[in-house]
C-alpha cells in the first residue's frame, strides 16, 4: 500500500495544482499531496505553496481516519523505520498505528535520508498534524510536552521556508498550555511558564526577520498576558515591540482585538474604538471565524456605549450576530433611554454571559453613561425642570446628588443648560446652530481622509505577477508600432488621393 501511495503522490502533484481543493480525496492522499506542495515551496522559495498546504488542515482533521492518515504520511516521508525524526512523531500516535521497531538507536541526531533538505519542512508539517491530532483528542499534557520539544527543534532549524509552519507550531504550543490545569486566570497557570519561551522566540523571529512567527508569537503573548489580567505587562509589550506590517490578515485582526481590549480597560476609549472597528472590518464573517467576529463586535458595542455613542440597530440584525448579541441589544436599549433601573436589571440578568465574554467590568462602568443619557434626554425635552423631578426620573437618591450630577454634566459638555439654585431648576439654553460652525466640514474631512487612506492601502495591496510588466512593455511597444504604421498609411493615402475620395479610415 505504501508503494501505491508513492506512485500516486508523484503523479498526483499536477492534479492538485490545477484542480484546486478536492474535499472528497481521502485524508492520506491530501497529506501526501501536500508534501509535494511543500517541496515546491522550498524550491521556488515562495510561501504561498506552504500556506496552501496548511490550509486544508481544517478539512483533514475532521476525517475519521486522521491518525491513520498521519501514520501513513509519516511512513511515506520517512521510509526508514529507524529514522529518529520518524520515531519522534510516531510516539505521539496511538498504539495500533505504530510500527513497533526495536530499532537500532541512531546516535545523536539520527540517520536522515539523503534528500534531507526538503524533508525538514515535511517533518515540521507532520509535526503540526500530530499537534492537531493531540489537541482534538484532548491529550493536553502529552501535547504540551511534545510541543515544547517540537518548538525548540523548529527554532533551531532557522529556515525561512519553515516560517509559516513554525508559526502554527507555536500556536498549538500555547493552546496546549492554556488547557492545562490550573487554568487561567489563576496566577499559577502554566501559561506563565511559557512566557520566557515565547519572548525568546519573538526575539529570534525579529532578528531573523521572520514576519510570520513574529506576528503569531506577539499575538500569543498578548493573549497570555490578558488571560491572567497582567494588563500592564501587555501594555509594555505593545509599547516596546512593533507589529510587522506584512503579517497575515488573521494575525492582524487578532492583534487589533487584543490591543482594543487593553485600551478599553485603560479607559482610552477612542483608541480602543478605532482598533476594534478595524478588527471587525478586517475579520471574515462566516464559517469558523464567525466566533471571533462575534467577540470583536461585542467588545466594540460596549466600547461605543462607553464613549457615549449608541451603536446602530442594523448591527444587531446581521444573521451571524443576531442570537449572540441579544443581551447586548437589551443593554443598548437601556442605555439609550437613560433608564437606570432597566440597566441594572439587564446587567444582573445577563451577568454570567458578560463574565464569559470578559465584558462584565466594562459593563459596570456604563452606569454613569446611563445617567448622562438620562440627563441629556431630560434637557432635550424640557426647557425648565425642577431638580426634584430630575431626581425621581433618573432614579438617583437625593436632590443634592441630582444637582451635582447635572452640574457635572453641564461642565462635561453633555448638555447646554444652566442651573438656578434658589428655585431649584434646570434651565436649558437654545441649541446653537451647528451648520454655522466648522463642525460639519471637520466631520466631512475626517471621513474623506479615512476613505482616501483606505483607497491608498488597497492600491498598495494589489498584487501583480512578477513579469507581467515586461509583457506590458512589449505590448505597448507593439501597439505603438502599429499606430505609427497606420498613421503613415493615412498620410500616404491622403497624399495620393486628394479631395473627393472617401476617407478610408482605420
Amino acid at each position: 500500500m505504501a508503494d501505491k501511495m508513492d506512485v500516486d503522490a508523484v503523479n498526483g502533484e499536477k492534479e492538485e495544482e490545477t484542480v484546486g481543493p478536492a474535499p472528497d480525496l481521502p485524508a492520506e492522499r491530501i497529506i501526501t499531496n501536500n508534501f509535494n506542495l511543500i517541496n515546491q515551496a522550498v524550491d521556488a522559495f515562495d510561501a504561498r505553496f506552504t500556506l496552501r498546504a496548511l490550509r486544508n488542515i481544517s478539512t483533514i482533521r475532521k476525517a475519521p481516519n486522521f491518525p491513520e492518515a498521519i501514520a501513513i504520511g509519516i511512513r511515506t516521508a520517512f521510509p526508514k523505520p529507524q529514522n529518529n525524526a520518524r520515531r519522534v512523531l510516531e510516539t505521539m500516535l496511538p498504539e495500533q498505528y505504530k510500527n513497533v521497531q526495536n530499532g537500532e538507536a541512531a546516535g545523536g541526531e539520527g540517520v536522515k535520508d539523503p534528500d534531507v533538505v526538503e524533508i525538514a519542512e515535511v517533518w515540521a508539517y507532520l509535526g503540526v498534524l500530530v499537534q492537531v491530532y493531540l489537541y482534538d483528542t484532548q491529550q493536553y499534557k502529552k501535547g504540551a510536552q511534545f510541543s515544547e520539544n517540537f518548538v525548540e527543534k523548529v527554532r533551531s532549524f532557522n529556515r525561512r521556508t519553515m516560517d509559516s509552519i513554525g508559526a502554527k507550531a507555536y500556536f498549538y504550543y500555547a493552546l496546549f498550555h492554556e488547557n492545562l490545569d490550573p487554568k487561567p486566570p489563576s496566577k499559577q497557570s502554566p501559561v506563565i511558564d511559557i512566557r520566557p519561551k515565547l519572548l525568546s522566540a519573538l526575539r529570534s523571529a525579529v532578528l531573523r526577520k521572520d514576519a510570520e512567527t513574529q506576528s503569531a508569537v506577539t499575538v500569543l503573548l498578548l493573549r497570555n498576558y490578558i488571560s491572567t489580567a497582567d494588563i500592564t505587562q501587555a501594555d509594555l509589550l505593545v509599547a516596546q515591540t512593533q507589529f510587522p506590517s506584512s503579517a497575515a490578515n488573521n494575525q492582524v485582526c487578532r492583534y487589533l482585538y487584543y490591543i482594543g481590549r487593553i485600551r478599553a480597560i485603560q479607559l482610552a476609549y477612542t483608541q480602543a474604538h478605532s482598533h476594534l472597528e478595524s478588527a471587525t472590518r478586517k475579520s471574515p464573517t462566516t464559517g469558523p471565524a464567525a466566533g471571533f467576529y462575534q467577540q470583536a463586535t461585542k467588545l466594540l458595542i460596549v466600547v461605543e456605549l462607553l464613549m457615549g455613542d449608541i451603536p446602530e440597530r442594523s448591527l444587531f440584525r446581521q444573521p451571524a450576530l443576531e442570537a449572540a448579541l441579544y443581551p447586548y441589544f437589551k443593554l443598548v436599549q437601556a442605555v439609550r433611554v437613560g433608564d437606570l433601573q432597566a440597566f441594572l436589571k439587564c446587567v444582573s440578568a445577563n451577568e454570567p454571559q458578560f463574565r464569559k465574554d470578559g465584558t462584565y467590568t466594562l459593563t459596570l462602568r456604563l452606569r454613569q453613561n446611563v445617567i448622562k443619557t438620562g440627563v441629556r434626554m431630560l434637557s432635550l425635552s424640557y426647557s425648565r425642570i425642577s431638580l426634584h423631578d430630575i431626581c425621581t426620573r433618573l432614579g438617583v437618591d437625593s436632590e443634592e446628588s441630582a444637582e451635582y450630577i447635572t452640574a457635572k454634566a453641564i461642565r462635561d459638555g453633555v448638555i447646554e443648560a444652566s442651573l438656578d439654585h434658589q428655585q431649584g431648576h434646570l434651565v436649558t439654553t437654545a441649541p446653537r446652530d451647528a451648520y454655522s460652525t466648522t463642525e460639519p466640514s471637520e466631520a466631512f474631512h475626517a471621513r474623506i481622509t479615512a476613505l482616501l487612506g483606505m483607497r491608498d492601502e488597497c492600491v498598495m495591496a494589489m498584487r501583480y505577477p512578477m513579469n507581467k510588466h515586461r509583457q506590458e512593455i512589449a505590448e505597448a511597444a507593439k501597439a505603438r508600432e502599429r499606430e505609427r504604421e497606420l498613421a503613415k498609411e493615412i498620410v500616404e493615402g491622403e497624399g495620393d488621393e486628394e479631395g473627393e475620395e472617401q476617407f478610408e479610415g482605420m
Binding site: 489580567a229 482610552a268 462584565y360 445617567i371 451635582y404 439654585h421 446653537r432 460652525t437
Partner: protein, 274 residues
C-alpha cells in the same frame, strides 16, 4: 535567631502608639534585614509557611505605617513587595499558621491612593486583576475593597454628596482610610467648583457654602478669590468668557485657511484616482 528577632520586632510594631510612630521605619528596616537572612523577603519555592507569614506580616505593617506617616512612595513600594505573596496559591499557606490578615485592607488602600491622584486607568487595571483572581462574591463582601469602588462610582457619576457622606466618620472602614479623606475632599471641592462655574450664572454665598462643603462664609470668599471669581453683594459671579472664546473658534470665517487647505488636498488626491 533571625526568626525570633523578627517575631520580637513584630510584637514591638504592634504596640506602637501614634506618638512613637517615627521609630517605625527603623524597626521596619531591621525586620527586613532579618527577613533577608531568612531568605524570606521574596517568596521562593522553598520558603516555609511560617517564614512566609512573618514576611507578609512585616510588609503589611510597613505598608499601614507608611500610610499613617503619609509616605505614599513607601506605601507603593511595600505594596509592590507584597504582590508576590498575594499571588501565591492557597496551598503554600499552612492552615495552622494562617494567612496574612490585612490583604484586602492593603489592596483597598492602594486603590484609594490611585483614586486620590486621579489615576483611573491604574485603578481599573488593578480592579480587573482582583476581579479575576478573587471572584465577585468575595469582593462584594469585602468592605475594604467596596469602599474605593463605591467612591469611584460616585466620583464618575458626579454625586459628590455621596463622596462627602462616605468620607465622614462612620462609613470609613478604618482609620487609615481616613487619611485619604482630606485629599479626596480637596479633589471634589475643585471639581464642584469647576462644575459650578459652567452651570450657574451666579450663586448666593450661603448656598455656595453648602455646595462646596465649606465651614464658613469667610472660607467661601477666600476660596472664590483663589479661583478668580468675583464676590459682591453676597453673591458670587462666575466669569463667562470661556463660552464666547469657544464660539469664536468655531466661526467659519476665521477658519477659511483650513477649508482652503483641505479642499486643495482633496483635489490633489482625486487627480490621482481619476
Amino acid at each position: 535567631m533571625a526568626d525570633n528577632e523578627v517575631k520580637q520586632l513584630i510584637s514591638h510594631l504592634d504596640t506602637l502608639k501614634p506618638s512613637t510612630l517615627t521609630q517605625a521605619p527603623q524597626l521596619l528596616s531591621r525586620a527586613k534585614l532579618a527577613l533577608l537572612k531568612l531568605h524570606a523577603l521574596v517568596p521562593g519555592a522553598q520558603t516555609s509557611p511560617q517564614h512566609l507569614l512573618l514576611a507578609a506580616t512585616v510588609l503589611e505593617y510597613g505598608a499601614l505605617i507608611s500610610i499613617r506617616l503619609k509616605d505614599t512612595d513607601a506605601f507603593t513600594r511595600y505594596y509592590q513587595q507584597l504582590q508576590p505573596f498575594y499571588s501565591l496559591p492557597a496551598e503554600r499557606w499552612n492552615s495552622r499558621v494562617g494567612k496574612p490578615s490585612n490583604q484586602s485592607k492593603v489592596t483597598g488602600l492602594y486603590l484609594l491612593l490611585l483614586l486620590s491622584v486621579g489615576d483611573y486607568a491604574g485603578f481599573h487595571t488593578v480592579l480587573e486583576g482582583l476581579e479575576m483572581s478573587a471572584g465577585k462574591e468575595q469582593m462584594e463582601k469585602d468592605q475594604f475593597i467596596q469602599y474605593p469602588v463605591r467612591l469611584e462610582q460616585a466620583l464618575m457619576e458626579g454625586s459628590y454628596d455621596k463622596v462627602w457622606g462616605e468620607t465622614k466618620g462612620e462609613r470609613v472602614p478604618s482609620e487609615e482610610f481616613g487619611v485619604f479623606s482630606e485629599v479626596l475632599i480637596t479633589t471634589i471641592r475643585s471639581e464642584i467648583a469647576s462644575c459650578s462655574e459652567r452651570a450657574y450664572p451666579s450663586l448666593p454665598i450661603s448656598n455656595a457654602k453648602n455646595l462646596l462643603f465649606l465651614d464658613s462664609e469667610g472660607a467661601v470668599v477666600q476660596f472664590a478669590q483663589s479661583r478668580g471669581w468675583v464676590a459682591k453683594d453676597g453673591r458670587i459671579y462666575f466669569p463667562q468668557q470661556e463660552e464666547e472664546m469657544l464660539a469664536a473658534e468655531k466661526d467659519v470665517m476665521s477658519s477659511s485657511g483650513m477649508v482652503i487647505e483641505n479642499t486643495l488636498g482633496y483635489a490633489r488626491k482625486l487627480e490621482t484616482i481619476v
